[in-house]
């Protein structure tokens, strides 16, 4: 009925998470429901239940020993038959603290250590995703329990993708490229930005894509930023088309950055895209297990600086997967944090090095989702990595 990963994949995850819980002395994990930011913020909960998509809110209680319990708002019966990972699915009606309290009591963990993934420190939600009143109610219900932040633990585990996860990301990348093909067919002078956006979305959805998905797209003369919402702007000859395109398959989102020009490209812009592509290729060639993020960042900056009057800019790359994945190199602090961290097989990123002119305005980037293998790294997309020129 819906795309599903195998039971073996579930067992692999449960084994790793439970081993980490044991190491950290965590008795039970709470994985909060929050479908914000295109459902990226609920990645942990979906990771351990396979339940989610289409803004389905789902709060998970994951004990170190015992049955996993998933609380959906009100369609537990359907979810029990729609997936095979979790048998204990309950209607929770978004009363998450009551849900957690109910299950923790059943598990007799009133005095245990309760890990909350999403208490604080998510990549894109450093203030967490669990409501204040939920935490307060859980604390009051279990005054002798210890609440700890398990966010980093889950991020580290999810950073390494299995072959099954990469196969879903590959499906996602293929759907994205169908959307890019739709853009090529539709974007002409006289067509609105909104129309192109709708056509690309249709290509995603009719090929199995899931909502919500992050998808920014804009058109305009000398345009470098994309908007969250498409406008009524009517495309003109010479316009740039910029965006970040994600399509979800079974919850997994790859990403592509595929700059395009309608008509004749501006040579300066085309040159910047070429520098970005050169950076992409240089970084991709260097990616393999054991190489540090710091090394990759050095390659990026050296390649930009040697290409001419250009400078680099964040972000260079960030992980892709079920949502809010790490590691993410999106700012100076991330470079400090991850510079000595080594790549591992299975890490998967959108690599989209950005290039700016040292003088004047503008920027460009081109990117694709790449995965680290035992012997190097490979692209998940198949399109030509170049500025797309749409003939008019």
């Amino acid at each position: 009925m819906i795309p599903q990963l195998s039971i073996e994949e579930r067992d692999r995850r449960y084994k790793i998470v439970r081993a980490e819980m044991a190491k950290r002395g965590i008795d039970v994990l709470l994985l909060p429901a929050n479908t914000g930011r295109w459902e990226q913020l609920q990645g942990d909960s979906r990771y351990l239940t396979s339940i989610g998509g289409f803004a389905t809110e789902m709060f998970t209680v994951f004990p170190r020993e015992g049955d996993v319990t998933a609380y959906v708002f009100n369609r537990a019966g359907w979810w029990k038959q729609a997936q095979k990972w979790v048998t204990d699915v309950r209607d929770g009606r978004n009363r998450w603290s009551q849900n957690a309290i109910e299950r923790i009591k059943e598990l007799s963990l009133d005095k245990g250590t309760i890990g909350i993934s999403g208490l604080a420190g998510l990549v894109r939600a450093p203030e967490g995703i669990i409501p204040y009143s939920s935490v307060k109610a859980i604390q009051e219900a279990f005054p002798q329990a210890k609440l700890v932040n398990a966010t980093e633990m889950m991020q580290e585990i999810r950073a390494i993708k299995s072959a099954e996860e990469v196969s879903f990301l590959e499906r996602s990348a293929a759907i994205i490229e169908q959307a890019i093909d739709a853009m090529k067919q539709t974007a002409k002078p006289g067509v609105s930005e909104k129309e192109v956006y709708a056509t690309m979305l249709h290509a995603m959805l009719s090929n199995g894509g899931e909502l919500p998905t992050l998808f920014f797209f804009s058109a305009g003369p000398n345009l470098f930023n994309s908007s969250f919402v498409p406008t009524d702007y009517v495309i003109q000859n010479g316009d740039n088309l910029v965006g970040e395109i994600e399509a979800k398959y079974g919850g997994y989102a790859a990403q592509a950055v595929s700059p395009a020009v309608v008509g004749k490209p501006n040579p300066a812009y085309q040159a910047m895209v070429e520098v970005s592509r050169a950076c992409f290729e240089a970084i991709l060639a260097a990616m393999k297990p054991g190489v540090t993020f710091g090394t990759l960042f050095d390659i990026y900056t050296r390649t930009v600086e040697s290409a001419g009057p250009y400078s680099w800019n964040h972000p260079m790359m960030h992980a892709r997967g079920l949502g809010d994945d790490g590691p993410a190199l999106m700012g100076d602090k991330d470079i400090e944090r991850f510079s000595k961290i080594e790549l591992q097989t299975g890490m998967t990123f959108i690599l989209k090095p950005q290039v700016r002119p040292t003088q004047g305005k503008g920027r460009a980037s081109i990117g694709d989702t790449v995965t680290v293998t035992d012997t190097g790294a490979r692209r998940l997309g198949k399109r030509d990595m170049k500025l797309l020129v749409i003939d008019v």
């Binding site: 914000g36 809110e57 967490g128 009143s133 709708a198």
Partner: protein, 405 residues
């Protein structure tokens, strides 16, 4: 001021109407400021208060607002400068959060000198939201505010925004009518696409295509299911192939500047289920009687009773719809997570006593249910409460739709 993108917008007069209404209630409750926290959950519904006050939103980014009783309103977002000054002209103080919303909220509250004041927070969790019984402010955001203002009183301001948002201004009603127009275009697309042998998923994709090409934003929050006599929608389509005699049931909500009206329209593949063909007559009668009575002052309890009695009188004595019963189902429509919500479960005296007011807007989707409970017929349109009774925002005929016939 940044150049505004070609994008639909509310007027400055509408902004002033909202701000005045909220400030009147703040003043009455002695609040110095209201914080509407970032929380793009549930298709950005949980952040509707921020968008209501700042006009910043669309897509699913996290955005918070600080709304003082007096002084400049502040919107707080990530990638603030390139994103939001181009979308709206309501708020000029759009600040960068870099994902640390609590820090930016605290910074603005300090400027407002509310160290010993009363700080209202919507979604604090003490007052239940329509779909958020535990509130919407994240623990980490609350903690920063609490620690920065140990002597301030933190008050749940959910009810203030609920109260103001229950009753819509004319511009809001016009926007909801536009959303409804898009919903009905999507229904046409659904009828055209829902043919035997076509994947359910593709029909759903055609509906979304119709919505977005006609101007709907994302996220669109739709419910959907297809099959033989389906009773309850899901949040998603499936990969099954449609068959002759299937029904596709739905809740469609196109988003126009973030406002989502709703349409409920059963679509049958090639042939209508004969039981449903009879039940829709009862359902139509219930809908019409309820809409007729949607005037200021009528209570939820009275509408529920009217639904029950209309079903009793409209149901035939024999045939598949004999002794069919009726269930009332209505909930507010607007910027997101709107109330009040009226379901068959509304049985407490407090819920039953809720009174209709002029310019409240609801999806009205009562159900007619066969005596054996095996068939549920639901159809719905978004309606405005007026002095003369409810006014439908949709224009399509009140009937079951059939494709490919």
């Amino acid at each position: 001021m940044a150049e505004l993108y070609p994008y639909p917008r509310f007027s400055i007069a509408e902004r002033d109407r909202r701000w005045r209404a909220v400030r009147e209630l703040m003043s009455a409750q002695n609040l110095d400021v209201i914080v509407t926290p970032q929380n793009s959950g549930h298709s950005a519904d949980y952040q509707a208060n921020t968008r209501y006050l700042t006009h910043c939103g669309g897509g699913e980014p996290d955005i918070a607002a600080v709304f003082p009783l007096e002084g400049q309103v502040t919107a707080i977002a990530t990638s603030a400068a390139p994103r939001w000054p181009t979308v709206q002209d309501w708020v000029s103080d759009v600040r960068e959060a870099r994902r640390n919303y609590g820090r930016a909220i605290v910074e603005r509250l300090k400027e407002l000198n509310v160290e010993r004041g009363r700080i209202g927070i919507t979604g604090l969790g003490e007052v239940e939201g329509t779909r958020t019984p535990e509130g919407t402010i994240f623990y980490g955001t609350w903690k920063q505010i609490r620690e920065a203002f140990p002597h301030a009183e933190l008050v749940d301001a959910t009810a203030i925004l609920d109260e103001v948002r229950y009753v819509k201004g004319q511009e809001e009603i016009d926007v909801l009518a536009k959303s409804m127009e898009i919903n009905e275009l999507a229904i046409q697309a659904e009828i055209e696409a829902a043919k035997a042998g076509v994947k359910d998923w593709e029909v759903w994709a055609a509906v979304h295509y119709a919505m977005t090409r006609n101007g709907s934003e994302l996220p669109i929050h739709c419910f959907w299911v297809s099959g033989k006599n389906p009773k309850r929608t899901l949040t998603r389509p499936s990969m099954r192939l449609l068959e002759r005699g299937d029904a596709v049931i739905n809740e469609l909500e196109a988003s126009w500047i973030g406002y989502r009206a709703q349409a409920v329209q059963p679509v049958f593949v090639e042939v209508i289920d004969p039981v449903q063909a009879e039940l829709i007559k009862v359902q139509r009668e219930i809908f019409n009687r309820v809409v007729e009575r949607l005037k200021p002052g009528i209570t939820v309890g009275e509408l529920a009773e009217l639904t029950k009695k209309t079903a009793e009188s409209a149901a035939p004595r024999s045939g598949p719809a004999a002794r069919a019963r009726g269930e009332l189902n209505m909930h507010g429509r607007g910027q997101g997570d709107d109330g009040p919500i009226i379901t068959p479960h509304a049985k407490s005296p407090r819920q039953l006593a809720v009174e209709m007011r002029a310019n409240m807007v609801f999806i009205c989707k009562p159900a007619a249910i066969s005596a054996d409970g095996d068939h549920i017929c639901q159809w719905g349109d978004t309606v405005v409460v007026t002095q003369n009774g409810g006014r439908r925002l949709g224009k399509r005929a009140h009937e079951l739709a059939v494709s490919g016939g």
